[in-house]
């Protein structure tokens, strides 16, 4: 009997030791929750899970719950809701242009306040400056670029040959785009257009496409403090006039608005010879195009230009010092040149730092797939995506103005003038 008790006690003690043994590292472990959005096609959640698993293997003292949170808008809503409910995430990938909203909500902490060593401070400067524009304001860095894209020009080389144009010399200026567009636009006997010269989408994200046109006219849409817009600047108005003229005057683009969602299909079916679209479409176009296609930088008026787009890392304010340190480790891990290269190849997002393009993997990839190089080279001419305080409202003002001009409801001058007036009213209290 006593023998039995002894054995039982022994077993219980062993179990307790085992339980403790499992328990104690869990106490020391830092746990991070990270929301991330997916805005393009492809098995992105799997890729993220793989990266996180790699990180956890390299850092056994940190546990990461990467939570897929829908699109950019959903991710922001969920992260802010979690914050209010008192169960906040420690870091998150969110829209780069959410920065002012997050600062106003006092939700995030600047990376300048987390970095400790000189080496970490240097790391803050290791990214392409154009990609940092949306992540910095007031002299501080709030967002680290992760899944970033730009706009590029896709063109149908077969259509170029058909129209007697050199397929290796895509239009490089606004005037060339009009001239090429006129040759590429093909009508049938009864005057119906069979193939358009070019299409620039104007639903969904009109402000984004317009950011490219204004940058090409050497103007930006807002200041770096996010409290002033330049919608009624003559150069901005001229850019919108050009966009309107492509359809209304030069007839190389359909008039009215052009649907973002179906544009890719239009291009793939040969109904337009040129489209402006996100680099995020590269993989799908590559897979599905039944013709020879090329990718080029957007044309220039005074200069080349495109806005950047996509998501940045943010670290939330409601975090302990250990959590911030762990979050920092995670962000640095995911933005290492090799990881960035891997991420870029697998997703089509651009590499966020020059040294990623010097890794063997990405060098080889760029050598075999030249469109990836176009996106990289265009970064030199890139600027920030429209982002201000009250960004949702301000963005909608510009979207509505663009659509009003494109559909002929207002002249570019009137539409942008009215938008600027209302934006001023919204932003006055932030100056």
């Amino acid at each position: 009997m006593s023998h039995l008790i002894k054995r039982f006690l022994g077993a219980a003690a062993l179990a307790a030791v085992l339980a403790l043994g499992q328990w104690s590292p869990a106490v020391a472990k830092v746990e991070l929750s990270m929301y991330y959005p997916v805005a393009v096609g492809g098995p992105l959640t799997k890729i993220v899970d793989g990266l996180i698993a790699d990180f956890e293997a390299a850092n056994p003292d940190i546990k990461v719950n990467a939570i897929y949170a829908g699109n950019y808008n959903d991710a922001r809503i969920k992260a802010l809701a979690a914050l209010k409910s008192g169960e906040p995430a420690q870091l998150s990938v969110m829209f780069a242009i959410d920065i002012y909203e997050l600062i106003e909500q006092d939700a995030i902490v600047a990376f300048d306040d987390i970095v400790e060593t000189e080496e970490e401070r240097a790391w803050l400067k290791s990214f392409y400056p154009a990609l940092m524009e949306n992540g910095t304001t007031g002299g501080k860095t709030w967002g680290i670029p992760f899944q970033r894209s730009t706009i590029v020009m896709y063109y149908n080389k077969d259509a170029f040959r058909d129209a007697g144009l050199d397929p290796e010399a895509p239009p490089a200026t606004w005037d060339e785009l009009v001239a090429a567009g006129k040759k590429l636009t093909k009508t049938d006997a009864s005057g119906n257009v069979e193939r358009w010269g070019a299409m620039i989408p104007s639903t969904g994200y009109p402000y984004w496409m317009f950011g490219a046109l204004t940058k090409q006219n050497d103007q930006v849409l807002m200041n770096r403090e996010g409290n002033e817009t330049f919608f009624d600047d003559p150069d901005t108005v001229e850019a919108l006039q050009y966009w309107v003229d492509l359809g209304a005057k030069h007839k190389v683009m359909p008039s009215g608005t052009i649907e973002w969602g179906t544009l890719r299909q239009n291009f793939l079916e040969g109904r337009t010879a040129i489209m402006w679209h996100s680099t995020g479409n590269l993989t799908v176009v590559k897979k599905k195009a039944g013709f020879d296609f090329g990718v080029a930088m957007l044309p220039a008026k005074k200069t080349r230009g495109t806005p950047t787009g996509g998501g940045n890392f943010y670290v939330f304010k409601q975090t302990t010092a250990e959590e911030r340190k762990a979050a920092m480790k995670l962000v640095r891990f995911l933005t290492q040149p090799e990881r960035t290269a891997e991420w870029s190849i697998k997703t089509g997002y651009i590499g966020t730092r020059p040294d990623a393009y010097r890794t063997k993997a990405l060098e080889d990839y760029v050598a075999t797939f030249s469109p990836a190089a176009v996106a990289r080279d265009q970064l030199k001419f890139a600027t920030a995506e429209l982002s201000t305080y009250q960004t949702g409202r301000v963005r909608k003002l510009l979207d509505d103005a663009i659509q009003a001009a494109l559909t002929g409801g207002k002249t570019p001058d009137d539409a942008l003038g009215a938008a600027q007036k209302q934006a001023d009213r919204l932003l006055k209290r932030y100056r």
Partner: protein
């Protein structure tokens, strides 16, 4: 003794009501009241806490051009969808209630659009309406008609949405009319035929009046739907071009989740609730007298 028994019965009754009441209060009544209250406060941020502002939000709304635009859009949308979908529903119901071959197949076919989720429907119609490659333009092109940018033209975009909604809803309303038709006694038709009444006369003086309770029900549902069904906007137009297709509820969503202006969203919601309540009560009062309940 007697009093305590009734009291126990009362407590018992309340306990039975409790689960439903808790759910209703937590998810319907409390949010409604909270919305009304919030519409008198400003939207708070971490640095600028919410404060009582009186009717400021309502003044802002009156001055908001987009609000008036979406409201008038919504009225046109309601006027465009409700009468046509009800008329179609009655017609289809009478058609599939008669003797015809493969009746259940036809009924199924009419009901199919109702089963589909609105998001899926919107994705299908998006490719119908797309210029050049869309089904409508391809059929038109076959007959030599020029293509049209259906969703990109402010003059046609709302009409396009109305067509989708009618297509989606008519089959749903048909089911109610079909049920009502089947409950009508066949003697009425036999008697009318003996008296020599024509089919149209019979419909106008007998069938339609007997269907009035159903019509009221359908009318209220259609009215509410025309304000609450906005899923397709997210896929098709996002309210564009230039708000030409934005409806009130979509605008509320935008204000709340894109602009993060909770207070103004609450204000718009309060106005929408009020409008719906007024419409529903008005319909009951105006139509009640003309309805023949059996």
């Amino acid at each position: 003794m007697k009093r305590s028994e009734t009291r126990i019965a009362q407590v018992y009754g309340w306990l039975l009501l409790l689960p439903a009441a808790v759910l209703l209060i937590a998810f319907t009544h409390y949010p409604t009241v909270a919305t009304l209250v919030q519409s008198f406060f400003s939207s708070g941020t971490a640095t600028r806490p919410s404060a009582f502002v009186g009717a400021e939000n309502y003044r802002f709304m009156v001055a908001d051009e987009v609000f008036w635009k979406v409201l008038s859009n919504n009225i046109w949308y309601a006027l465009g969808t409700i009468p046509v979908s009800i008329a179609l529903a009655v017609l289809m119901a009478i058609w599939v209630n008669g003797r015809l071959p493969a009746r259940s197949v036809v009924r199924m076919a009419y009901f199919t659009p109702t089963i589909l989720p609105m998001i899926a429907v919107a994705n299908i119609w998006l490719f119908f309406y797309t210029p050049e490659i869309g089904l409508i333009d391809q059929i038109g092109g076959f007959f030599g008609l020029p293509g049209h940018n259906w969703l990109g033209d402010p003059d046609t975009v709302l009409g396009c949405l109305i067509v989708i909604t009618i297509w989606k809803e008519a089959g749903f309303f048909m089911i109610f009319y079909l049920a009502a038709l089947q409950s009508l006694p066949p003697e009425l038709e036999e008697a009318a035929r003996l008296e020599g009444a024509g089919r149209w006369y019979f419909f106008r003086r007998v069938t339609f009046p007997l269907l009035m309770p159903t019509t009221l029900f359908v009318l209220i549902n259609a009215m509410i739907n025309s304000f609450k069904l906005v899923d397709h906007l997210f896929i098709l137009t996002k309210g564009g071009p230039d708000n030409a297709s934005a409806l009130l509820l979509y605008y509320i969503y935008e204000v709340a989740f894109s602009f993060f202006d909770e207070a103004y969203a609450a204000t718009l919601t309060a106005v929408m609730l009020l409008a719906l309540a007024v419409i529903a009560i008005g319909q009951f009062l105006a139509l009640d007298k003309r309805i023949h309940y059996r």
